[in-house]
């Protein structure tokens, strides 16, 4: 497997197997981690996106929907500055505890 785990950070290359990376993503998400994926170059970004799409198929049967947030990261490889793409992969709606009731009822009353 080409993806190296680094405290929740997977480094994906253009030669990484999307299915293997997908398995790693699914495992970490099931464990409750947020996963960071780092890719440098179009080929690597493509493999990372495929891995995320495949991992959805592993997770949706167990009721977990995921979404990803891409961002840029400046990194140094062999003394050269490169721009990497980082994907934060997380379960959907994981960060927002939905509290319904008071807010909704107040809105109804004033209407």
């Amino acid at each position: 497997m080409d993806a190296k785990s680094e405290i929740g950070c997977l480094k994906v290359s253009s030669k990484s197997s999307p299915a293997s990376v997908a398995g790693a993503i699914a495992g970490m998400i099931k464990d409750g981690s947020t996963v960071e994926i780092q890719a440098v170059g179009a080929g690597a970004v493509n493999q990372a996106v495929k891995a995320i799409a495949i991992s959805r198929g592993f997770l949706s049967p167990v009721g977990i929907e995921i979404s990803c947030i891409p961002s840029f990261a400046d990194i140094v490889i062999d003394g050269e500055y490169r721009t990497a793409i980082r994907f934060a992969v997380e379960p959907k709606g994981s960060h927002i505890p939905v509290v319904e009731g008071s807010a909704a009822s107040q809105a109804t009353q004033t209407a």
Copy 2:
């Protein structure tokens, strides 16, 4: 601009300008649409991901955070079957209408 709009579907190629596509994404998200982006090939997927990352910078100053969900789509181009990547881009927690009680009622009263 290389991205063609199709009822909320942007087709991105490897020659698309990420900044232009990002502007289109930001505009549609601000209008309340969910955006679908379609890309075929590693170069196109790379440009699409860059566009999504750039659009985050356009939207976060106005308080909109977005996330994307990649999936595979089988399409036919010139009679040949190809696998495209589709990104569903949506505001974070968009499926949950966030109603803040006091703010909403104040707005109603002053209106």
